[in-house]
Subunit: 208 residues, 2 copies
Protein backbone atom coordinates (compact mmCIF):
# COMPACT_ATOMS: atom_id res chain seq x y z
CA UNK A 1 0.00 0.00 0.00
CA UNK A 2 1.25 3.46 -0.92
CA UNK A 3 1.25 6.10 1.83
CA UNK A 4 -1.40 8.82 1.77
CA UNK A 5 1.22 11.57 1.35
CA UNK A 6 2.58 9.81 -1.74
CA UNK A 7 -0.91 9.43 -3.19
CA UNK A 8 -1.45 13.17 -2.69
CA UNK A 9 1.78 14.03 -4.44
CA UNK A 10 1.10 11.64 -7.34
CA UNK A 11 -2.24 13.37 -7.81
CA UNK A 12 -0.43 16.71 -7.84
CA UNK A 13 2.25 15.58 -10.33
CA UNK A 14 -0.39 14.35 -12.73
CA UNK A 15 -2.33 17.56 -12.46
CA UNK A 16 0.83 19.57 -13.18
CA UNK A 17 1.70 17.37 -16.17
CA UNK A 18 -1.78 17.77 -17.59
CA UNK A 19 -2.32 21.46 -17.03
CA UNK A 20 0.99 23.26 -16.52
CA UNK A 21 3.17 21.65 -19.19
CA UNK A 22 3.38 23.15 -22.67
CA UNK A 23 1.75 20.92 -25.33
CA UNK A 24 5.06 20.75 -27.28
CA UNK A 25 7.03 19.44 -24.29
CA UNK A 26 7.61 15.71 -24.82
CA UNK A 27 9.78 14.94 -21.82
CA UNK A 28 10.92 16.46 -18.54
CA UNK A 29 13.73 15.77 -16.08
CA UNK A 30 12.96 14.98 -12.47
CA UNK A 31 14.36 18.30 -11.25
CA UNK A 32 11.98 20.16 -13.58
CA UNK A 33 8.86 18.36 -12.34
CA UNK A 34 10.11 18.64 -8.76
CA UNK A 35 10.48 22.42 -9.12
CA UNK A 36 6.90 22.74 -10.40
CA UNK A 37 5.61 20.67 -7.48
CA UNK A 38 7.80 22.44 -4.87
CA UNK A 39 9.36 19.14 -3.72
CA UNK A 40 12.95 17.88 -3.84
CA UNK A 41 14.05 15.85 -6.90
CA UNK A 42 14.85 12.94 -4.56
CA UNK A 43 11.30 13.03 -3.18
CA UNK A 44 9.84 13.10 -6.69
CA UNK A 45 11.94 10.12 -7.82
CA UNK A 46 10.96 8.14 -4.73
CA UNK A 47 7.27 8.86 -5.37
CA UNK A 48 7.48 7.94 -9.04
CA UNK A 49 9.15 4.61 -8.24
CA UNK A 50 5.78 3.47 -6.85
CA UNK A 51 4.34 3.74 -10.38
CA UNK A 52 6.94 1.33 -11.79
CA UNK A 53 7.85 3.78 -14.56
CA UNK A 54 11.42 5.03 -14.73
CA UNK A 55 12.43 7.66 -17.22
CA UNK A 56 15.52 7.69 -19.38
CA UNK A 57 18.72 9.13 -17.89
CA UNK A 58 19.33 11.16 -21.06
CA UNK A 59 15.83 12.41 -21.87
CA UNK A 60 14.09 12.26 -18.50
CA UNK A 61 10.44 11.23 -18.15
CA UNK A 62 8.06 11.12 -21.09
CA UNK A 63 5.19 13.43 -20.07
CA UNK A 64 2.56 11.18 -21.63
CA UNK A 65 3.91 7.89 -20.27
CA UNK A 66 4.40 9.36 -16.82
CA UNK A 67 0.81 10.66 -16.64
CA UNK A 68 -0.33 7.23 -17.81
CA UNK A 69 1.67 5.37 -15.21
CA UNK A 70 0.37 7.63 -12.43
CA UNK A 71 -3.17 6.97 -13.70
CA UNK A 72 -2.39 3.25 -13.48
CA UNK A 73 -1.81 3.68 -9.76
CA UNK A 74 -4.47 6.23 -8.86
CA UNK A 75 -7.44 5.36 -11.04
CA UNK A 76 -9.75 2.37 -11.10
CA UNK A 77 -11.22 1.01 -14.31
CA UNK A 78 -14.23 3.25 -13.90
CA UNK A 79 -14.35 6.87 -12.68
CA UNK A 80 -15.07 6.92 -8.94
CA UNK A 81 -18.65 8.00 -8.24
CA UNK A 82 -19.00 10.71 -5.63
CA UNK A 83 -21.95 11.97 -3.58
CA UNK A 84 -22.04 15.25 -1.69
CA UNK A 85 -24.34 15.65 1.28
CA UNK A 86 -25.30 19.15 2.41
CA UNK A 87 -25.80 21.74 -0.36
CA UNK A 88 -25.17 24.86 1.71
CA UNK A 89 -22.60 27.47 0.66
CA UNK A 90 -19.64 25.16 1.13
CA UNK A 91 -21.32 22.17 -0.55
CA UNK A 92 -22.34 24.20 -3.59
CA UNK A 93 -18.88 25.73 -3.85
CA UNK A 94 -17.24 22.30 -3.82
CA UNK A 95 -19.60 20.86 -6.43
CA UNK A 96 -19.04 23.86 -8.73
CA UNK A 97 -15.32 23.55 -8.20
CA UNK A 98 -15.19 19.85 -9.04
CA UNK A 99 -17.50 20.03 -12.04
CA UNK A 100 -15.73 19.47 -15.28
CA UNK A 101 -12.29 19.36 -13.67
CA UNK A 102 -11.46 15.66 -13.67
CA UNK A 103 -13.21 12.85 -15.42
CA UNK A 104 -11.83 10.32 -12.92
CA UNK A 105 -14.10 11.68 -10.22
CA UNK A 106 -17.74 12.14 -11.00
CA UNK A 107 -20.18 13.81 -8.61
CA UNK A 108 -23.33 11.86 -9.52
CA UNK A 109 -25.65 12.93 -6.71
CA UNK A 110 -26.06 15.62 -4.07
CA UNK A 111 -28.38 15.53 -1.08
CA UNK A 112 -30.08 18.10 1.11
CA UNK A 113 -33.03 18.34 3.50
CA UNK A 114 -34.29 21.66 2.14
CA UNK A 115 -37.28 21.10 -0.14
CA UNK A 116 -36.39 24.25 -2.09
CA UNK A 117 -33.22 22.44 -3.23
CA UNK A 118 -34.31 18.82 -3.62
CA UNK A 119 -35.56 17.63 -7.00
CA UNK A 120 -33.60 20.37 -8.73
CA UNK A 121 -30.29 20.43 -10.61
CA UNK A 122 -27.87 22.62 -8.62
CA UNK A 123 -24.35 23.44 -9.84
CA UNK A 124 -24.92 20.92 -12.63
CA UNK A 125 -25.85 18.01 -10.39
CA UNK A 126 -29.18 16.57 -9.27
CA UNK A 127 -30.07 17.25 -5.63
CA UNK A 128 -32.05 14.53 -3.83
CA UNK A 129 -33.77 14.53 -0.46
CA UNK A 130 -31.64 13.04 2.33
CA UNK A 131 -34.27 10.35 2.87
CA UNK A 132 -33.07 8.85 -0.42
CA UNK A 133 -29.37 8.43 0.52
CA UNK A 134 -29.47 4.61 0.80
CA UNK A 135 -31.49 4.20 -2.40
CA UNK A 136 -29.30 6.41 -4.61
CA UNK A 137 -25.92 5.39 -3.16
CA UNK A 138 -26.76 1.71 -3.68
CA UNK A 139 -28.27 2.19 -7.13
CA UNK A 140 -25.43 4.36 -8.44
CA UNK A 141 -22.74 2.31 -6.65
CA UNK A 142 -21.30 5.46 -5.10
CA UNK A 143 -18.04 4.75 -3.24
CA UNK A 144 -16.96 8.23 -2.13
CA UNK A 145 -18.87 10.87 -0.15
CA UNK A 146 -18.16 14.49 0.69
CA UNK A 147 -19.83 15.62 3.91
CA UNK A 148 -20.80 19.29 4.24
CA UNK A 149 -23.77 18.95 6.60
CA UNK A 150 -24.02 20.69 10.02
CA UNK A 151 -21.97 18.97 12.70
CA UNK A 152 -24.93 17.72 14.74
CA UNK A 153 -26.17 15.45 11.95
CA UNK A 154 -22.79 14.48 10.44
CA UNK A 155 -22.41 11.19 12.33
CA UNK A 156 -25.92 10.01 11.45
CA UNK A 157 -25.40 10.83 7.76
CA UNK A 158 -22.02 9.06 7.87
CA UNK A 159 -23.51 5.89 9.36
CA UNK A 160 -26.13 5.77 6.61
CA UNK A 161 -23.55 6.32 3.85
CA UNK A 162 -21.28 3.61 5.24
CA UNK A 163 -24.17 1.16 5.54
CA UNK A 164 -25.09 1.89 1.92
CA UNK A 165 -21.57 0.97 0.76
CA UNK A 166 -19.46 4.15 0.81
CA UNK A 167 -15.78 3.35 1.59
CA UNK A 168 -14.18 6.81 1.41
CA UNK A 169 -15.29 10.01 3.15
CA UNK A 170 -14.05 13.57 2.87
CA UNK A 171 -15.45 15.34 5.94
CA UNK A 172 -15.84 19.13 6.03
CA UNK A 173 -18.16 19.08 9.05
CA UNK A 174 -16.31 20.40 12.12
CA UNK A 175 -16.82 17.24 14.15
CA UNK A 176 -14.90 13.96 14.50
CA UNK A 177 -16.59 10.99 12.82
CA UNK A 178 -16.60 7.32 13.75
CA UNK A 179 -16.17 4.96 10.79
CA UNK A 180 -15.32 1.25 10.53
CA UNK A 181 -11.65 0.50 9.85
CA UNK A 182 -12.28 -0.40 6.21
CA UNK A 183 -13.56 3.14 5.49
CA UNK A 184 -10.99 5.82 4.67
CA UNK A 185 -11.75 9.14 6.36
CA UNK A 186 -10.12 12.50 5.68
CA UNK A 187 -11.07 15.46 7.89
CA UNK A 188 -11.02 18.93 6.38
CA UNK A 189 -12.50 21.16 9.05
CA UNK A 190 -11.71 24.76 8.12
CA UNK A 191 -11.47 26.04 11.71
CA UNK A 192 -9.00 23.38 12.84
CA UNK A 193 -6.83 24.03 9.79
CA UNK A 194 -6.92 27.76 10.37
CA UNK A 195 -6.13 27.46 14.09
CA UNK A 196 -3.14 25.33 13.17
CA UNK A 197 -1.91 27.82 10.58
CA UNK A 198 -2.44 30.68 13.07
CA UNK A 199 -0.44 28.79 15.73
CA UNK A 200 2.57 28.26 13.47
CA UNK A 201 2.27 31.78 12.04
CA UNK A 202 2.54 33.14 15.58
CA UNK A 203 5.48 30.87 16.43
CA UNK A 204 7.26 32.15 13.35
CA UNK A 205 6.74 35.77 14.42
CA UNK A 206 7.88 35.07 18.00
CA UNK A 207 11.15 33.58 16.75
CA UNK A 208 12.14 36.78 15.00
Amino acid sequence: MISDKTVERLSLYRWLLETKVDKDTVSLFSHQIAAMACVSPAQLRRDLMTTGYSGSSTRGYSVKELAGSIAGVLDGNEPAKVALIGMGNLGRAIVSFLRGRRSRLKVVATFDTDSRKTGRVISGCRCYGQNRIEEIVTREQISVAVITVPSDVAQKVTDRLVNAGVTGILNYAPVPLRVPERVYLENRDVTTALEKVAYFARKSTEKE
Copy 2:
Protein backbone atom coordinates in the same frame (compact mmCIF):
# COMPACT_ATOMS: atom_id res chain seq x y z
CA MET B 1 7.73 23.02 19.14
CA ILE B 2 4.56 20.93 19.13
CA SER B 3 3.85 18.83 16.02
CA ASP B 4 1.17 19.98 13.59
CA LYS B 5 -0.94 16.89 14.24
CA THR B 6 -0.93 17.63 17.97
CA VAL B 7 -1.92 21.25 17.35
CA GLU B 8 -4.84 20.02 15.20
CA ARG B 9 -6.00 17.66 17.93
CA LEU B 10 -5.67 20.30 20.68
CA SER B 11 -7.86 22.58 18.57
CA LEU B 12 -10.38 19.76 18.25
CA TYR B 13 -10.37 18.94 22.01
CA ARG B 14 -11.02 22.55 22.88
CA TRP B 15 -13.84 22.79 20.37
CA LEU B 16 -15.42 19.64 21.83
CA LEU B 17 -15.07 20.94 25.40
CA GLU B 18 -16.67 24.24 24.44
CA THR B 19 -19.53 22.99 22.29
CA LYS B 20 -20.26 19.34 23.01
CA VAL B 21 -20.02 19.19 26.79
CA ASP B 22 -23.10 19.76 28.89
CA LYS B 23 -22.92 23.02 30.88
CA ASP B 24 -23.34 21.11 34.16
CA THR B 25 -20.36 18.83 33.51
CA VAL B 26 -17.47 20.03 35.68
CA SER B 27 -14.88 17.38 34.89
CA LEU B 28 -14.23 14.56 32.45
CA PHE B 29 -11.92 11.55 32.38
CA SER B 30 -9.45 11.10 29.56
CA HIS B 31 -11.36 8.15 28.10
CA GLN B 32 -14.50 10.29 27.87
CA ILE B 33 -12.80 13.12 25.96
CA ALA B 34 -10.92 10.58 23.83
CA ALA B 35 -14.20 8.91 22.82
CA MET B 36 -15.69 12.24 21.75
CA ALA B 37 -12.60 13.02 19.68
CA CYS B 38 -12.36 9.50 18.20
CA VAL B 39 -8.76 9.07 19.44
CA SER B 40 -7.25 6.61 21.94
CA PRO B 41 -7.03 7.68 25.61
CA ALA B 42 -3.23 7.26 25.40
CA GLN B 43 -3.10 9.65 22.44
CA LEU B 44 -5.25 12.18 24.29
CA ARG B 45 -3.06 12.05 27.42
CA ARG B 46 0.12 12.47 25.34
CA ASP B 47 -1.39 15.50 23.57
CA LEU B 48 -2.56 17.11 26.80
CA MET B 49 0.88 16.71 28.38
CA THR B 50 2.07 19.46 25.99
CA THR B 51 -0.24 21.90 27.78
CA GLY B 52 1.39 21.22 31.14
CA TYR B 53 -2.00 20.57 32.75
CA SER B 54 -2.60 17.18 34.29
CA GLY B 55 -5.96 16.26 35.68
CA SER B 56 -6.70 14.52 38.96
CA SER B 57 -6.62 10.73 38.98
CA THR B 58 -9.91 10.63 40.90
CA ARG B 59 -11.91 13.36 39.15
CA GLY B 60 -10.21 13.56 35.74
CA TYR B 61 -9.73 16.88 33.94
CA SER B 62 -11.59 20.03 34.91
CA VAL B 63 -13.38 21.11 31.73
CA LYS B 64 -12.72 24.78 32.37
CA GLU B 65 -9.07 24.45 33.34
CA LEU B 66 -8.36 22.12 30.45
CA ALA B 67 -9.89 24.52 27.89
CA GLY B 68 -7.84 27.29 29.49
CA SER B 69 -4.59 25.35 29.34
CA ILE B 70 -5.18 24.46 25.68
CA ALA B 71 -5.85 28.16 25.00
CA GLY B 72 -2.52 28.90 26.69
CA VAL B 73 -0.79 26.82 24.05
CA LEU B 74 -2.81 27.67 20.96
CA ASP B 75 -3.68 31.33 21.34
CA GLY B 76 -1.61 34.47 21.33
CA ASN B 77 -2.42 37.47 23.48
CA GLU B 78 -4.51 38.94 20.68
CA PRO B 79 -6.88 37.14 18.29
CA ALA B 80 -5.02 36.24 15.08
CA LYS B 81 -6.07 38.51 12.21
CA VAL B 82 -6.97 36.72 9.01
CA ALA B 83 -7.34 37.89 5.42
CA LEU B 84 -9.06 35.91 2.67
CA ILE B 85 -8.14 36.52 -0.96
CA GLY B 86 -10.58 35.50 -3.71
CA MET B 87 -14.28 35.96 -2.92
CA GLY B 88 -15.66 33.38 -5.35
CA ASN B 89 -18.01 30.61 -4.21
CA LEU B 90 -15.42 28.90 -2.05
CA GLY B 91 -14.09 32.12 -0.54
CA ARG B 92 -17.55 33.35 0.40
CA ALA B 93 -18.45 29.95 1.85
CA ILE B 94 -15.35 29.95 4.06
CA VAL B 95 -15.92 33.51 5.31
CA SER B 96 -19.56 32.73 6.14
CA PHE B 97 -18.45 29.57 7.86
CA LEU B 98 -15.82 31.26 10.01
CA ARG B 99 -17.92 34.26 10.94
CA GLY B 100 -18.96 34.24 14.54
CA ARG B 101 -17.45 30.82 15.22
CA ARG B 102 -14.28 31.64 17.10
CA SER B 103 -13.15 34.87 18.60
CA ARG B 104 -9.49 33.76 18.47
CA LEU B 105 -9.51 34.05 14.69
CA LYS B 106 -10.85 37.18 13.14
CA VAL B 107 -11.32 37.63 9.40
CA VAL B 108 -10.66 41.36 9.15
CA ALA B 109 -10.38 41.79 5.38
CA THR B 110 -11.24 40.03 2.14
CA PHE B 111 -9.89 40.84 -1.31
CA ASP B 112 -11.09 40.38 -4.87
CA THR B 113 -10.43 41.81 -8.33
CA ASP B 114 -14.12 42.06 -9.29
CA SER B 115 -15.30 45.67 -8.96
CA ARG B 116 -18.84 44.41 -8.24
CA LYS B 117 -17.47 42.95 -4.99
CA THR B 118 -14.86 45.45 -3.87
CA GLY B 119 -15.87 48.29 -1.57
CA ARG B 120 -18.79 46.23 -0.26
CA VAL B 121 -19.36 44.19 2.87
CA ILE B 122 -19.77 40.54 1.84
CA SER B 123 -20.58 37.76 4.32
CA GLY B 124 -20.07 40.31 7.08
CA CYS B 125 -16.60 41.37 6.06
CA ARG B 126 -15.28 44.28 3.97
CA CYS B 127 -14.01 43.32 0.52
CA TYR B 128 -11.08 45.35 -0.83
CA GLY B 129 -9.51 45.47 -4.29
CA GLN B 130 -6.48 43.23 -4.62
CA ASN B 131 -4.32 46.28 -5.39
CA ARG B 132 -4.66 47.15 -1.67
CA ILE B 133 -3.27 43.87 -0.26
CA GLU B 134 0.03 45.36 0.97
CA GLU B 135 -1.64 48.46 2.45
CA ILE B 136 -4.35 46.60 4.42
CA VAL B 137 -2.21 43.64 5.53
CA THR B 138 0.43 46.00 6.92
CA ARG B 139 -2.04 48.42 8.50
CA GLU B 140 -4.14 45.68 10.16
CA GLN B 141 -1.09 43.57 11.06
CA ILE B 142 -2.66 40.51 9.44
CA SER B 143 -0.58 37.38 10.06
CA VAL B 144 -2.71 34.65 8.45
CA ALA B 145 -4.12 34.43 4.91
CA VAL B 146 -6.59 32.08 3.25
CA ILE B 147 -6.03 31.79 -0.51
CA THR B 148 -9.04 31.00 -2.70
CA VAL B 149 -7.93 32.67 -5.94
CA PRO B 150 -7.58 30.88 -9.31
CA SER B 151 -4.41 28.81 -9.54
CA ASP B 152 -2.70 30.98 -12.19
CA VAL B 153 -2.49 34.00 -9.86
CA ALA B 154 -2.01 32.17 -6.53
CA GLN B 155 1.80 32.41 -6.45
CA LYS B 156 1.79 36.13 -7.23
CA VAL B 157 -0.79 36.81 -4.50
CA THR B 158 1.22 34.65 -2.08
CA ASP B 159 4.45 36.58 -2.75
CA ARG B 160 2.67 39.87 -2.05
CA LEU B 161 1.12 38.58 1.18
CA VAL B 162 4.45 37.24 2.43
CA ASN B 163 6.22 40.49 1.60
CA ALA B 164 3.54 42.37 3.53
CA GLY B 165 4.19 40.26 6.65
CA VAL B 166 1.89 37.22 6.51
CA THR B 167 3.51 34.19 8.19
CA GLY B 168 0.77 31.55 7.83
CA ILE B 169 -1.13 30.53 4.68
CA LEU B 170 -4.05 28.19 4.17
CA ASN B 171 -4.07 27.45 0.43
CA TYR B 172 -7.23 26.25 -1.33
CA ALA B 173 -5.91 27.02 -4.82
CA PRO B 174 -5.08 23.78 -6.64
CA VAL B 175 -1.45 24.65 -7.20
CA PRO B 176 1.74 24.23 -5.15
CA LEU B 177 3.07 27.45 -3.64
CA ARG B 178 6.61 28.57 -2.91
CA VAL B 179 7.05 30.29 0.46
CA PRO B 180 10.10 31.18 2.58
CA GLU B 181 10.92 28.69 5.34
CA ARG B 182 9.62 30.99 8.07
CA VAL B 183 6.10 30.92 6.55
CA TYR B 184 3.79 28.03 7.48
CA LEU B 185 1.85 26.69 4.50
CA GLU B 186 -1.07 24.27 4.58
CA ASN B 187 -2.48 23.01 1.26
CA ARG B 188 -6.18 22.18 1.07
CA ASP B 189 -6.82 21.49 -2.60
CA VAL B 190 -10.20 19.77 -2.89
CA THR B 191 -9.31 17.67 -5.94
CA THR B 192 -6.13 16.24 -4.43
CA ALA B 193 -7.98 15.35 -1.24
CA LEU B 194 -10.80 13.72 -3.17
CA GLU B 195 -8.43 11.74 -5.42
CA LYS B 196 -6.72 10.47 -2.29
CA VAL B 197 -9.99 9.45 -0.65
CA ALA B 198 -11.12 7.78 -3.91
CA TYR B 199 -7.82 5.85 -4.09
CA PHE B 200 -8.16 4.43 -0.57
CA ALA B 201 -11.90 3.84 -1.03
CA ARG B 202 -11.09 1.69 -4.06
CA LYS B 203 -8.30 -0.18 -2.25
CA SER B 204 -10.76 -0.95 0.52
CA THR B 205 -13.28 -2.39 -1.95
CA GLU B 206 -10.60 -4.44 -3.74
CA LYS B 207 -9.52 -6.05 -0.48
CA GLU B 208 -12.95 -7.51 0.11
